[in-house]
Amino acid sequence: MRPFLSIRNLSVALKNGGLILRNVSLDVAVGKVHGLVGESGAGKSMIGKSVLGTLPRALQITGGEIWLDGVDLLSIPPAQRRKRIGATAALIPQDPLTALNPTRRIGPQITRRLVDILGWTKADAQARALELLEEVQIADPARVMRNYPHELSGGMRQRILIASAFAAKPKLIIADEPTTALDVTVQKQILRLIADMQARHGSALLFVTHDLGVVSKVCDALSVLYAGKVVEDAQMRRFFCRPVHPYSRALLAATPTYTNPTGSLMPVPQSVIDAVEREVVQHDRRWRA
């Protein structure tokens, strides 16, 4: 049986030819959390967008398969694909500052999807929204429903996006750096909450983050991405005990920890970058041949 989400040899390119994702494969089973790490621009968000069918216009999928709940999304007509995705998957977007509409109050932004897409009554949607805001530890949900986004702190906005992602009880959640704007205590509550909701709904979770500390707490497995190529795919524990790829080891060395205040921070060394760049070039050659 296929895992709930199974990405096989996915390639994405700019319409002018530049490669963005190079033969990416990864699996996320029901009830599992799969981490996606890698530096800025590595293509983490584009993997999520490929699954959700929301790639920017300049990009297109040039090969591969995306199996969601037993169906290859890339082999069915677009209308059918959108319907399946809408009913199954939800996104916690990366940028809480721009993902909310600044001119609308919070309440309708959470309830709209429930009412418009899933046909809930306004009252039911309203009640569900209040309940979700409470679950993400928003202190005064009734007030916040009437707030505009600019009246809330960055972390509050991020929690609102988490609440709306869970509103429709999705089976697949793509969380794109869902806790970057949160302090550690709220982050901890939210990560537990995400794990909780996930266990309750039996969702599969693709978790994009650059925080290896978070990975070690929530993920069952992870893929390390460099320039759109998976350089290491590992079970979580194995990754931290025995990272195989030099780039993975360099990432671990660049992670600051408060328990090691004197250790100076090492950005990924140029020699490691050069080596992994060569790997990417070789991959492209083989692929084109």
Partner: protein
């Protein structure tokens, strides 16, 4: 002293409870804060989401006017100074924002982004000042002609830093500037800030929820919780013997990159 802040209060109108006629009731956001920032210090400001860190930053830079208390910047009381009188001082305190993409004008090239504030403050020798700022943040001078979308997240963040330091300010407030960056870019930006503090004699206030980063960079730390300072301590002391219950809670919640760390 770079900053001397006493009994600082700030309340804002709660527009969600505004009656049809009359004034909205006010919510208290900062409740009597007192602290100093010595010259050349790197002060860490940590605290929960919604505790008032960004608001405190905006008040220190007088983008908001305090409701009560006082702010003294380098010997000058700026608590209620009006905008006209503030303008010549504004160059001396700068802010770097969390989100490099939305704080950089997408339609301007890097040289315009860095040069804009210089022109606004009537500084001459624009070209050389822009080049110098790019050198200081370690970006090639050729980047002057790029647009923000042609830069990586870490590079954009450095443009934000270059824009602030080009004005040669005395004080910079950095609001969560590394939380969106991958660890490698994070390390580069932190090393850069450290060098700038040393070389330019900058005073820095660094807002972050990441205590690992704060420990690396800051000499003193204040912990905000619900608009109050619950702890004000030297960095080493805060980590070895935290006094406030909330500080202990924060420390225990930090996820270390270690699957065996107890985290419950």
């Amino acid at each position: 002293m770079m900053y001397r802040i006493e009994n600082l209060h700030l309340s804002l109108p709660d527009m969600t409870r505004k009656p049809l006629l009359g004034a909205a009731p006010r919510i208290e956001i900062l409740k009597s804060l007192t602290f100093d920032v010595p010259k050349g210090a790197v002060l860490g400001i940590v605290g929960g989401s919604g505790s008032g860190k960004s608001t405190l930053g905006r008040v220190m830079l007088r983008l908001l006017e305090p409701t009560a208390g006082s702010i003294v910047f380098d010997g000058t009381d700026i608590t209620h100074t009006d905008e006209v009188q503030l303008r010549p001082m504004r160059r001396r305190f700068q802010m770097i924002f969390q989100d490099p993409m939305s704080s950089l004008n997408p339609r301007r090239r890097v040289d315009g982004i860095i040069g804009g504030p210089l022109r606004l403050h009537g500084l001459d020798g624009l070209r050389s000042r822009v080049d110098e700022a790019l050198d200081m943040v370690g970006l090639p001078r050729g980047f002057a002609h790029r647009y923000p979308h042609e830069l990586s997240g870490g590079q954009r963040q450095r443009v934000g830093i270059a824009r602030a330091i080009a004005l040669r300010p005395d004080f910079i407030l950095a609001d969560e500037i590394v939380s969106g960056l991958d660890v490698s870019s994070q390390a580069q930006v932190l090393n850069l800030l450290e060098d700038l503090v040393r070389e330019l004699g900058l005073t820095l206030a660094f807002i972050s929820h990441d205590l690992s980063v704060i420990r690396r960079l800051c000499s003193r730390i204040i912990v905000l919780h619900q608009g109050l300072i619950v702890e004000d301590a030297e960095t080493a002391e805060l980590f070895t013997s935290p006094k406030a219950a909330y500080t202990r809670e924060l420390l225990q919640a930090i996820p270390l990159p270690d699957p065996d760390q107890p985290w419950d």
